[in-house]
């Protein structure tokens, strides 16, 4: 604006900023102090417990941990491969299920019912059971060539997680305001194009945090394929445990799984915070 004064903070404002800064420093100090005290108390109780030396020996034996890292990492690579394939499979199958459940019109009734029944059943059955049934049952039919255990494990994971992801996506599709669909149809877009170009992009955006959460959950559940005999990180750890008579390899596998999931967890937090910030523009409360 011509002739308008430029902004330069007054004494009052500078005082306020100084006060806020000292308050900020104070709260940082308090949080550091309380964290340190908390950690000291917890670790103190842990290390002074009477059973700690034995627990340390059988779960945190440094030499065993170091020697088991190699085989477990090789196994973890299998987990990662399974995870990538399963994630892609879940994305495709889950989307199809979600769309099938939102189809309108009497002609689609059987598809709708099938999809609804599928999600009901596979969300109810424990993942472990599905793994057993798929991994030991399907090969028994002799319909397929011999496949490695990780193949069946991946199929079982896709079957289970698609049901969850489909429900999340369906919630997202139904959360897109009907007026959006109306506007797209008014332009002459077909039902399929409306879904693909207008509804799905908004639906996915709405449920991205929930989807990322499902992905994090799947990241650790890929470890379950070890029950079928696939030599993944957990199975590799199990082998080491049996050889060494020491549980430390399990701890190593646990740490590696946590490290694997950390980037995704942080990414989910960041994305959720960003989305929240965007919705709250102009509001301090």
């Amino acid at each position: 604006m011509p002739g308008a004064p430029a902004f330069s903070p007054s004494g009052v404002e500078l005082d306020r900023r100084r006060y806020r800064r000292t308050q900020g420093k104070r709260s940082v100090l308090i949080s550091v102090a309380s964290t340190v005290i908390f950690a000291v108390v917890v670790l103190g109780v842990l290390f002074s417990s009477s059973g700690w030396p034995q627990v340390q020996e059988s779960f945190f034996d440094w030499n065993t941990m170091v020697s088991s890292v190699g085989p477990i990492l090789v196994g973890l690579w299998l987990n990662i491969q399974v995870l990538v394939v399963a994630a892609i499979g879940v994305a495709i199958f889950g989307s199809l299920l979600a769309i099938a459940r939102t189809l309108r019109g009497p002609i689609f009734t059987p598809i709708r019912l099938l999809a609804a029944g599928y999600t009901d059943i596979f969300r109810g059955v424990p993942v472990l059971l599905v793994l057993y049934l798929v991994g030991f049952g399907l090969p028994g039919l002799n319909l397929f060539d011999r496949m490695p255990a990780q193949f069946w494990g991946t199929i079982a994971l896709i079957l289970c997680y698609s049901a969850y992801v489909a429900e999340v996506l369906r919630a997202g599709i139904e959360a897109v305001h009907p007026s959006q669909r109306l506007a797209a149809r008014a332009l002459g877009l077909s039902h399929a194009k409306t879904l693909r170009l207008v509804v799905m992009p908004q639906a996915v955006r709405k449920v991205t945090p929930a989807l990322m959460n499902d992905f994090v959950s799947m990241q650790k559940d890929v470890g379950l394929i070890s029950v079928l005999g696939a030599v993944d990180a957990i199975r590799a750890a199990q082998i080491q445990v049996a050889q060494e008579y020491n549980f430390s390899p399990y701890v190593v596998a646990g740490i590696l799984f946590v490290l694997l999931s950390l980037p995704m967890i942080r990414l989910t937090d960041w994305y959720t915070a960003r989305a929240q910030k965007r919705e709250q523009i102009g509001g301090a409360v």
Binding site: M1, A4, P5, F7, P9, S10, V12, E13, R16, Y19, R20, Q23, G282, G283, A284, V285
Partner: protein, 251 residues
Amino acid sequence: MTSSTTPVLRVDNVWKLFGEHPVLRGISLEVAAHEVVVLIGASGSGKSTLLKTINLLEPVNDGQIFLGDEDITDPQVKPDAVRAQVGVVFQHYNLFPHMSVLANVALALRQVHGQDKATAEARGLELLTRIGLGDKAGEYPDRLSGGQQQRVAIARAIASDPRLLLLDEITSALDPQLVGEVLDLVRELKKSGSTILMATHEMGFARRVADRVVFLKDGVIVEAGTPEQIFENPQNPATREFLARVLNPLG
């Protein structure tokens, strides 16, 4: 305004920036007890932002705001204690859809002001009856017309007898035939002695009800005065241009 009594509200050189963009640039304003001050100006002139800073929904970047004698921009002030003394009515009513009309009105009385259920609901029912909606007390907001919802929102804002009432374009989202009932209620509030600072696009209403009219442009008070001064004899060319445009949009 007399200098012997402390004004209910004193805004002193308030600045508000969104990023680098200044929205309020040194606003100073006083509202005396029982006074009705109307803010007018184009969209984006800073009316709503000014009201939000007064309720501490937006922190100011500079300047001070006094509610009575208290500097509410002091970082040591508890915002919720300030907000409990100020009533706000929003453009889109913002009633809580999962609560009955009566529960909406009684909510702050019970949860903020610590009244028991019976006292709060008696007060709520009295207010609803006063605004002619006593028979709607048990209804949910979505069963009411926009005008009725906005009247309930006003009842919710005044339930705890706030020292100051902020009305933020409360008729902008209403169908034209529903504007009257809401403005009638505001006029009654003025008669009963409420202190009101409101932003509005209803120039006719501003003219009849305001004690003082304040014209904002680009975050600056361009001109302020009695409705007669502003509407009959505006001094600033910007004011004249704005009024010409809103009073005769096709001209």
